[in-house]
């Protein structure tokens, strides 16, 4: 038996998170109802601890461990920090909402922590098997979270749809991976890239596997035509869970896409770019058109997610043009920037729904935002900024995100694609601005005072301001994205 002990140091954050999750699980059994606040606090402390460990163990080099199944690079560290941050923000936003609905049980925090672990595994995966296991860990926790409100028939239906379609997507992904394994003889992402580079692998089998891998990824990203689950799940799940699904997992899905397609199958870029391009155009068109018809804000934001993921894909498809690869870094960092800024906006927008919801009432319809300006000018302004940013109005963070992916598309000479994207984003602006119009020019139907914890008000304000601030200084995040990618590719 020939084996070297793996180096645990790069995976210290994962190990810490798992240990803390086990501690919280056992604590949940012994704490009384009155001491439950400890669990929420401990969860936040765990996330902070993970962040500290991730920063401390970041070496700036690409470190492989566990027999090349785990990779620690700056890209992973950066995304993991963003994941901790957005999960932590999500927990602050949803505390009051969950307490009013009796959902602030230990299970919620546990499942969130396990989902976070799944995302970390996905982000740090350098092996098909670890990608798959991380994905399953994340998905399994999410299915359970969606169904956590057991008395809601809508939530149960949403969980069921999510589960069935998610399982099918995992199946597609696995099937594609097995084809790639058949063609290259290895499951390591680096090894796959090597095998393709040296021309060992059969091209037809590779492309065949690629089709399934891309379909599986498209399911997880939720782009047309694999988007069917998104609106139902977003609408049916408790808003706190919708907020969770709409934020951090997007970062993990982006990491998974980048690891599989760029790290592993870069040699096939011309093939998968074509597939992603179709997905992107369809998503942008359908997402923006269907969102107009919605009267439910959660459903509208679901369709908006679909279109945003389409825009994100625009960045991924401009990496290679006619065999020229020097666009790659710019294009992929623009896609990464898009994902990061989308997560920021999505946290804020769902946070607003949570803010306006109260016991027995979900502020999930567009009508519930009517006349928000009369009730709270400050939060109306915050929501307005979030909507402007999502619509891509200058100068908010969403504008620069759209701008950078469009620039990447134009760089590779696909001007028509950029024109289509801009055209649909103009259509999309309609439904975002409609929310603004409702808030400022309509009479309030619901005049209940806004009650929320101070921490949530502060954080939500910070979130809204950040959307404006990073719009003024877009380079802050953009350069981080470029830098981490440069050091990790």
């Amino acid at each position: 038996m020939n084996f070297l002990m793996p180096d645990f140091y790069p995976a210290a954050a994962e190990i810490f998170l798992l240990a803390m999750a086990c501690v919280i699980l056992l604590l949940d059994l012994v704490l009384t109802q009155k001491q439950r606040w400890i669990i929420g606090l401990l969860t936040q402390a765990t996330l902070v601890g993970c962040a500290v460990i991730t920063i401390m163990t970041a070496s700036g080099q690409v470190v492989l461990t566990f027999s090349n199944m785990f990779v620690d690079d700056l890209f992973a560290d950066f995304l993991k920090l963003l994941v901790y941050f957005s999960v932590s923000v999500m927990l602050v936003y949803s505390r009051g909402y969950l307490a009013l609905r009796g959902l602030d049980k230990g299970e919620f925090y546990l499942l969130v922590l396990f989902a976070t672990l799944g995302m970390m595994v996905m982000i740090s995966a350098s092996h098909f098997l670890t990608i798959y296991l991380g994905l399953e860990l994340l998905s399994l926790s999410l299915y359970a979270l969606v169904a956590l409100d057991r008395d809601s028939a809508r939530a149960t239906e949403a969980a069921m749809k999510y589960f069935v379609l998610g399982a099918m997507a995992s199946g597609l992904l696995l099937y594609g991976m097995s084809m790639l394994y058949g063609a290259t003889g290895t499951l390591e992402i680096g090894g796959v890239a090597q095998a393709i580079y040296h021309g060992v692998a059969n091209k037809t089998v590779l492309v065949f596997g690629l089709v399934f891998v891309v379909s599986g990824l498209a399911f997880k990203l939720g782009v047309v035509p694999f988007h069917m689950w998104i609106p139902d799940v977003y609408q049916g799940a408790p808003t706190a869970v919708t907020l969770f699904i709409g934020s951090a997992p997007k970062l993990a899905a982006f990491a998974m896409t980048l690891r599989l397609l760029v790290y592993g199958l870069f040699e096939l870029a011309e093939q998968w770019q074509l597939m992603l391009m179709m997905l992107a155009v369809l998503s942008i068109a359908l997402g923006n058109l269907a969102a107009i018809a919605q009267s439910n804000l959660k459903r509208m934001l679901a369709y908006s997610t679909i279109s945003h993921m389409g825009y994100m894909l625009l960045g991924l498809i401009s990496g290679v043009a006619a065999g020229d690869r020097h666009f790659a870094l710019n294009a992929y960092s623009s896609a990464m920037y898009y994902t990061v800024s989308y997560v920021m906006m999505s946290l804020g927008a769902f946070g607003m729904i949570l803010l306006l919801s109260r016991a027995g009432f979900e502020a999930e319809n567009l009508d519930d935002f009517k006349g928000l300006n009369q009730r709270s000018p400050w939060f109306a302004a915050m929501m307005g900024m979030l909507m402007f940013s999502m619509a891509g109005v200058p100068f908010f963070v969403g504008f620069f995100a759209k701008f950078s992916v469009l620039l990447a598309v134009v760089d590779t000479g696909q001007v028509w694609l950029a024109v289509v994207a801009v055209f649909f984003s103009l259509i999309g602006a309609f439904y975002y601005l409609r929310v603004v119009k409702l808030m400022y020019f309509d009479q309030a139907i619901d005049t209940a005072p806004i009650k929320a914890n101070l921490d949530m008000r502060l954080l939500l304000s910070a979130n809204g301001l950040a959307v404006a601030l990073f719009g003024i200084f877009p380079q802050a995040i953009m350069s981080l994205c470029t830098f981490t990618l440069l050091r990790s590719l």
Binding site: F66, L133, R150
Partner: protein
């Protein structure tokens, strides 16, 4: 055709027929039982491929445990068979077309050239001393230790999720908690109040 091929073709035929019956059987219980047969034949085929451990695990876990759960669900569930089959014929053309297309695509790619014996030669029979389970264990507990531990985390999440989604406190429960009964104090049950004596 040697004996091994004969066994393979027999098992493969049974597998295909059983799988077809799974989706065409009118009675869901029969469908579940055909699924058992399909798993069993698949296990036999894995055995022929010398993956003995996986074959036995397939039978043990899927036939022994998963299918028992399936049968539970199918036999006990209050399903309306007529409603289940509604829409079968209206979905059939689309479903059949997609299925046929996928089969054709797969056949085109997989037929002969890429996965045939030339491209992927038979590794040959392993020697009498080679133990499949041991080979698997050697890999699983050294190189694959990270996925191995992740598997336990996934199982843990499954336990948490199953308990969280199905367990609810039962209000009508008449269970006795012996520990609580023994631990009861006088003060919990008995309240002594001082009352002025009543005068008649």
């Amino acid at each position: 055709m040697d004996f091994k091929s004969a066994v393979f073709y027999f098992l493969a035929t049974v597998l295909v027929l059983a799988s077809l019956r799974v989706i065409t059987a009118r009675n869901p219980v029969h469908a579940a039982l055909f699924l058992v047969l399909a798993f069993f034949s698949a296990g036999g085929i894995w055995m022929l491929l010398q993956a003995e451990f996986l074959a036995i695990v397939l039978v043990m876990v899927y036939v022994g445990a998963v299918m028992v759960l399936f049968l539970f669900v199918v036999m006990m569930l209050d399903i309306n068979l007529e409603r289940l089959r509604q829409g079968f014929w209206s979905y059939l053309p689309l479903g059949a077309t997609i299925g046929l297309l996928m089969t054709l695509e797969m056949a085109l790619v997989l037929a002969g050239r890429y996965y045939g014996l030339e491209a992927m030669p038979d590794p040959g029979a392993s020697g009498a001393g080679v133990n499949n389970t041991k080979e698997l264990g050697r890999l699983l507990f050294t190189d694959y230790v990270y996925p191995f531990e992740l598997a336990s985390v996934i199982l843990l999440v499954a336990i948490v999720a199953a308990v969280a989604l199905t367990k609810r406190p039962r209000k009508e429960s008449k269970a006795q908690n012996a520990a609580a009964q023994i631990a009861v104090r006088r003060n919990d049950r008995l309240r002594i109040v001082s009352m002025p004596s009543e005068k008649e």
